[in-house]
Amino acid sequence: MRKSINLTPFFYLLPALVVIFGLRVYPLIYAIDLSFRGFRLGSPATMYDFVGLKNYMAAFDDWRLMLALKNTIFYTIVAVAVNLVVGLTIALALNRDFRGRGILTTLFYIPVTLSPVVAGYIWKFMYMTPFGIVTYILKSIGLFGFLGIETIHWLSDYPVVLFSIVIVEIWQMTPYVVLILLAALQSMPQDPFDAAKIDGASRWQVFRYITLPLLRPAIAIVLLLRIVGVLRIFEQIMALTAGGPGVLTHSLSTYIYRIGFGQLEVSKATAYGFLTLLIDLPFILTFTRLVFKSTR
């Protein structure tokens, strides 16, 4: 490594820094500034004056925001948990060689490459009651008869719709989790496993005492990655329900979007957005610290 005391490195960095600063950092500052003002889109400039913490106070009175927060927490916890458990299971399964593994893995990974919007619409199509496949299949298994109900409106019956949404997120991102965990599994040292086999440990013991601890860093990364990812869930919900019925399925992102571009209350929206950022922040920071600790 050459030690450069001159400014060369900074010239190389310059374009990147300009772009990042101009389009990420500055807007953030601008947003914070906006959040202290009473700005509405399309209003005359006189609305653009300082109102202090009014928008932030409004946040705590806004039951819809609280609902969106609750929803988002729900989505995040459920999606991440299922992602992890299912992902781990599948990763373990894919860890051994079997015929057609490559193809299977490739096919399996497809949902991740989709635009979340497209994934949302695919599922919406499958969920919609008059002609949805989901209902059709479950009906043919006889699930409805078993539960004694006529049918389920996956996208409009209240508690159900939350799960419908989460399933889309899980479907889309589990392969991603699998990929990361699989990579981790495949780079694990062989010795502990050999030793365990010699000592006659059972499958479960191997898993619990060797595999899991070795996987801990990877699991941590997956956890944080997904938490940060699901907290901002937007496109799928827009595609599936647009926040509806009413406002019942809004996530933080979709609700804030509505406030800003639907109600044109940009200042309120930026205030809410900043609060969302604050919620994200602990996870973002933890994740960053984790990543930088392991890769110097």
Binding site: Y12, T89, Y109, I110, T113, I122, K124, P130, R232, E235
Partner: protein
């Protein structure tokens, strides 16, 4: 663990069924049978999507398709260029604040988009850049840059320094080293990164939604959303457009996987 095979097939089947469903057949109430003659209906549908549907859709669709490709392509090229420069700096130079800067970039990358959409909208509005390619391109570059830098730094670090050192000794400039030695050597990784960046831009929805208004610059995902208004759901169109969006993304990501020999967890952050 062959139960895994069972669980994997639904995913594949899911996607296949979306293609099958791109047909008029879905109008059959109340039950829905997935086995239909598929491709012919799909082609018919594409004809429908391009010819009929709503007024002037055909020309618009072509334009919109071009928008998506152009914006994604340009954004990708610019991103790779800028991030290569920056990555080179991180990979080869020691300078004060290096770690700090790298981690800051990482943190900025993870910030949720919703926090910056409004100011960006306003900024673009004031710069009269709304509804242009340029707006989308620079926004996408800023969004993809940190990830690209992260990944490319990894690839650059794999390249032995000696090669560069000898080139420098032979009188090559630093920039020359980057362009003529490092980048070609890192080409597989760069290509993989480019493909991923392209896919990211191609699929993007939120910023496109906010920054575009007319077919002058709308991208495919937005149009897909428009086929589902509050009055009617034009499923045929939706799924057709959805497939147009999905197929290139899938193909490109498969290609990208081939190019990514290793280093998968080098910077596996997805927004």
């Amino acid at each position: 663990m062959l139960g895994v095979t069972v669980s994997i097939f639904p995913y594949f089947w899911l996607f296949a069924s979306s293609l099958k469903d791109v047909a008029e057949m879905f109008r059959v109430p109340p039950t829905f049978l997935p086995e239909q003659p598929t491709l012919r209906n799909y082609v018919d549908l594409m004809g429908w999507a391009m010819g009929l549907g709503y007024a002037g859709v055909e020309k618009e669709m072509v334009r919109i398709f071009i928008n998506s490709i152009a914006v994604s392509l340009l954004a990708t090229v610019v991103t790779i260029l800028i991030s290569s420069l920056a990555a080179y700096s991180f990979a080869r130079f020691e300078f004060p604040g290096r770690q700090y800067l790298l981690s800051s970039i990482f943190i900025i990358y993870l910030a949720p988009g919703i926090a910056t959409v409004f100011p960006i909208f306003l900024m673009m509005y004031m710069a009269k850049l709304l509804d242009t390619w340029l707006a989308l391109i620079i926004v996408y570059v800023s969004a993809q840059l940190p990830f690209a830098i992260w990944v490319i730094v990894g690839y650059f670090q794999e390249i032995p320094v000696e090669i560069e050192e000898s080139a420098l000794v032979d009188g090559c400039s630093r920039l020359g080293v980057l362009l003529r030695i490092v980048m070609p050597l890192a080409a597989p990784g760069l290509i993989a990164c480019a493909l991923l960046t392209f896919i990211g831009c191609w699929n993007e929805f939120m910023y496109a939604l906010v920054l575009t208004f007319t077919p002058a610059s709308k991208t495919l995902p937005i149009v897909a959303a428009e086929t589902q208004t509050t009055e009617f759901f034009e499923w045929g169109l939706t799924l057709a457009i959805g497939s147009i969006i999905a197929v290139p993304a899938i193909v490109l990501s498969l290609i990208a996987q081939r190019w990514m020999a290793r280093g998968l967890t080098l910077g596996a952050v997805k927004g």
